[in-house]
Subunit: 403 residues, 2 copies
C-alpha cells in the first residue's frame, strides 16, 4: 500500500485527490500496488467534505508517520511550503510539488535534501501544467547537449495576447475577459510582469544547463508595454508577439536567460500557440528540436502532472529510488548581461529596406510595403541594435527581441 | 563499463555510433559509468572505417559475450532482425530498436521475452524519430485514461502534401522533389500507401490502449488519392489535408484504428505541422491534450531517441531493470469496422448550407461562398455519410475523414 499525504486542498490539491480516487484502478495496475490518501493538511476544517477523516493541521503528524511514502505539496507560496517540504524530505518522505515559487527559490536545497535522504523531490507540475516538460528534458534529452529553450509559459498573458491579435482587443479589455473566465487571478501582477514565466524558465534552465539562476538575476519584462499596433504590425507578415521565456548557453559558459515580449516568426512552432495553451521548443545539438504543446495550467492538467510523478515514485517505494538530480545555484558571473549579449532583435520602421541592409549587417527583411519595413537582426546585442536605430534616425513603429 | 553492440551500420546505426563517441562525456556523467561500443555487426567488411576493430558478422559472438549489456538493433526489415533480437533478449541482453516493422509485427513476443529474462526491450526510436512519444505515453499519461491519439507520422508524405498546399505542386512533382532531397526512398510505396504510418500507429495504440493490432486489420489509405483541388478547397478555410493515423477506444472496448488522408481543421494543433516534421496529439480523460512535434526521421534525431533508451537502460545495468511492459495481441473482434464506426467526416459540396443542415444532423458548416459549402459531420459512420451524400444527390467536390 502506497500512502500519500496532500498538503493544501486548493485547486491543484483537490484535483490530485479526485484524480487518485477516479483513476484508482489504472494507478494500481500501473504501480502494482494499492494507493491511499492517508492525510490532507489544510488550514480549513474539512468537516462535511469527503476528506473529513484524513484531515490534519499539523505537519508533524505526516512527517513522523512511517507509513507515509509520498507527500504532495500543493500549497503555493514559499512559507510554510518550503519548511514543510524540507521536514518531510528529511523524514525520508518523497516530496512532489506543483509549486514553482518554491522550486525556483529553494530547488537546490530541496534536491540536496532528497539525495541525502535517498528519496526524491519531483516537480513536473511546477512548469507547463499538463505538458510533460521536466520529464522530457530529463530523459529524452539526457544524452545530448541542449543549446536553447524558448517557451510561452504563461497561459494568462498568452490568452490576452491572442485576444489582442485575433479580436483586436486592448490589453485592458482582454485582461478583464481573462479574469471573468477565471484564467487570470484577481491580482494578475505575477502574470503580467512576467514573474510567473521567470520562475518557470529558471526551473527549466536548471535542468537543461545544470544551473539554477536566482530569479533576481533574470532580465524580465511583462506584456504591459505591448500596444495593439505592435500586434497588428506583426500580423501583416504572419508573425505574433508573445511573452517568451528563453534560456541559452553561450560559448563562454554563461547562461543567457530572459523573459520578454518577443516577435515570434511565422515558421516557429510556438507561433501558433494561442489562448491559454503553453508551448516550449527545445533545441539540442545534432538531434534538432522538439516542441511540446498543451494546457499550461488548470486543475486537472496540473493534477495529471502530479499524478505522473506519484506513479514514478510509487514504482520504487520499497526499493532504492533513482538518484535525485541536483541543482547547483548560479552566481552573477555565470549569467549573461542582457544589454551586451547577442540575440535576435526585431524592428518595424518607416525607413526602406536599402537603408536597413546597409546599417545592419545580416538583417533579414520580413516585410516591406513602402510605408513600413519589418526586419530581424540575427545576432546583435540590445545595446548595439538600439544604438544604431537611434544614431540612424530611424522612425521605429515597433521593436522587440525576436526568436 | 557499459558495453554496447550495434546491429546494422546503416544511417541510424552509424548515427548512434557517432553520437555515443561525440557525447561520451555527457553520457558518462548521466549514467555514472563508462560506455563502450564493443561490437558492430554488419554484412559489410568494415576495414578502413573507424569501426574495423569491433566489426563482427556472427550474432552468436554478441549474444554469447557476457560483457555485452545492451544490443541496438538498427537493421530494418524483420529478417533476421526479429530472430537476432529474440536471441539477444534470451541471452539476457537489453535490446533497443528503431525498427518499426519488427515492433509492429513481433513487439508482443519480444516484450514477453524481455520480461521473462529480466531485461528490457525499448523502442522509442521506432515511432516519430526524435519526438519522445513512447516515453511520454508511458510516463506522462501513466495514471490517466487515454481517449484518442491522432498523428502525422510520416515525414515524406507530409512534405509532399505541404508542397501541394503551399506551392501548388502536383503529387508527382512533389514526390520527385522529396526523392531529390533524400526524404523519400527510391521506392516510396511504404510511405505513399501508408504502411509506414500504419506500423507506427499500431505501436502507439499498443501503448495507449494495451492492444497490439496486427497491421493487416487496420484500414489504411495512402495519399495517392489526394488531388490538388482537395488541398485548394481546404486552404479556403484554413484547413489542411494530411495523412493522419488515428486510434481511439470506443465505449464497447473496441479499438478504432485507421490511417487515411484527413481534413485537419484550423485550430487543431497538428494542422500547422509542415514539411518533414511529425506531430502527435494525445487526448486523455480529464487532463486534456498534449501535442508533441519534431523531426520524425533523420539520422541524428532518430539516433538521439536510441541514445535516450540506452541511457535509461544503462542506469539500471547491474541492478534490476524496471519491469518490461507487455503488449497483448488484439484479435479481429477487438477492432472496429471502419465502415460502421462513427467518426468525423468532411465534404465540400455544391449544395447550400440549408440542405446540408437538414440532411445531416449536427453538421458544422466550415465555409460557404455560394459556389461551394464545406462541412463536417461530427459523429457519423462512413457508410451512413456517403449514403446520405449519394441519396441526397450531392455534387461532391472533395471529401475525407476529419479530425
Amino acid at each position: 500500500m502506497i500512502n500519500v499525504a496532500i498538503l493544501g486542498l486548493g485547486k491543484i490539491g483537490s484535483g490530485v485527490a479526485e484524480l487518485i480516487e477516479k483513476n484508482k484502478a489504472i494507478i494500481c495496475r500501473e504501480i502494482q500496488d494499492r494507493i491511499n490518501i492517508k492525510y490532507i493538511l489544510d488550514l480549513r476544517d474539512l468537516t462535511g467534505t469527503p476528506y473529513e477523516s484524513c484531515a490534519v493541521h499539523d505537519i508533524g503528524t505526516i512527517s513522523s508517520d512511517p507509513e507515509v511514502d509520498i507527500v504532495c505539496e500543493m500549497m503555493g507560496g514559499t512559507k510554510p511550503a518550503f519548511e514543510y517540504s524540507l521536514e518531510c524530505l528529511r523524514a525520508g518522505k518523497n516530496v512532489i510539488t506543483s509549486n514553482k515559487e518554491v522550486v525556483a527559490s529553494f530547488g537546490n536545497l530541496l534536491c540536496d535534501a532528497a539525495r541525502d535522504n535517498n528519496v526524491r523531490y519531483m516537480y513536473e507540475a511546477s512548469v507547463g501544467g499538463g505538458i510533460p516538460l521536466i520529464r522530457t528534458v530529463k530523459t529524452a534529452f539526457a544524452g545530448v547537449e541542449i543549446k536553447e529553450i524558448n517557451g510561452v509559459l504563461n497561459g494568462t498573458t498568452n490568452y490576452i495576447l491572442t485576444q489582442m491579435v485575433n479580436n483586436n482587443k486592448t490589453l485592458d479589455d482582454a485582461l478583464k475577459e481573462a479574469q471573468a473566465l477565471g484564467y487570470a487571478e484577481a491580482d494578475p501582477s505575477a502574470d503580467l510582469n512576467a514573474d510567473d514565466s521567470c520562475r518557470k524558465i529558471c526551473i527549466l534552465a536548471a535542468l537543461c544547463f545544470g544551473r539554477l539562476v536566482p530569479t533576481s538575476l533574470v532580465s524580465c519584462k511583462g506584456i504591459n508595454e505591448i500596444k495593439l499596433t505592435d500586434t497588428e504590425i506583426a500580423a501583416k507578415f504572419g508573425a505574433a508577439i508573445k511573452l517568451v521565456a528563453s534560456a541559452k548557453m553561450h560559448e563562454l559558459g554563461k547562461l543567457d536567460i530572459r523573459v520578454s515580449p518577443c516577435l515570434v516568426t511565422k515558421n516557429n512552432p510556438i507561433r501558433n500557440v494561442d489562448d491559454v495553451y503553453n508551448a516550449v521548443n527545445i533545441i539540442a545539438d545534432l538531434v534538432g528540436d522538439v516542441t511540446l504543446l498543451g494546457r499550461g495550467a488548470g486543475k486537472f492538467p496540473t493534477a495529471g502532472a502530479v499524478l505522473s510523478d506519484i506513479i514514478d515514485v510509487a514504482k520504487y517505494v520499497g526499493n532504492t529510488q533513482p538518484t535525485q538530480e541536483l541543482m547547483e545555484c548560479a552566481n552573477e558571473d555565470e549569467v549573461c548581461d542582457e544589454f551586451t549579449t547577442n540575440c535576435k532583435y526585431y524592428a518595424a520602421v518607416k525607413q526602406d529596406a536599402q537603408k536597413i541592409k546597409s546599417d545592419f549587417s545580416g538583417a533579414e527583411i520580413l516585410y516591406s510595403d513602402g510605408q513600413l519595413t519589418a526586419f530581424i537582426c540575427p545576432d546583435i546585442s540590445r545595446q548595439t541594435f538600439y544604438y544604431i536605430l537611434e544614431a540612424g534616425g530611424y522612425d521605429v513603429l515597433s521593436s522587440f527581441r525576436a526568436i
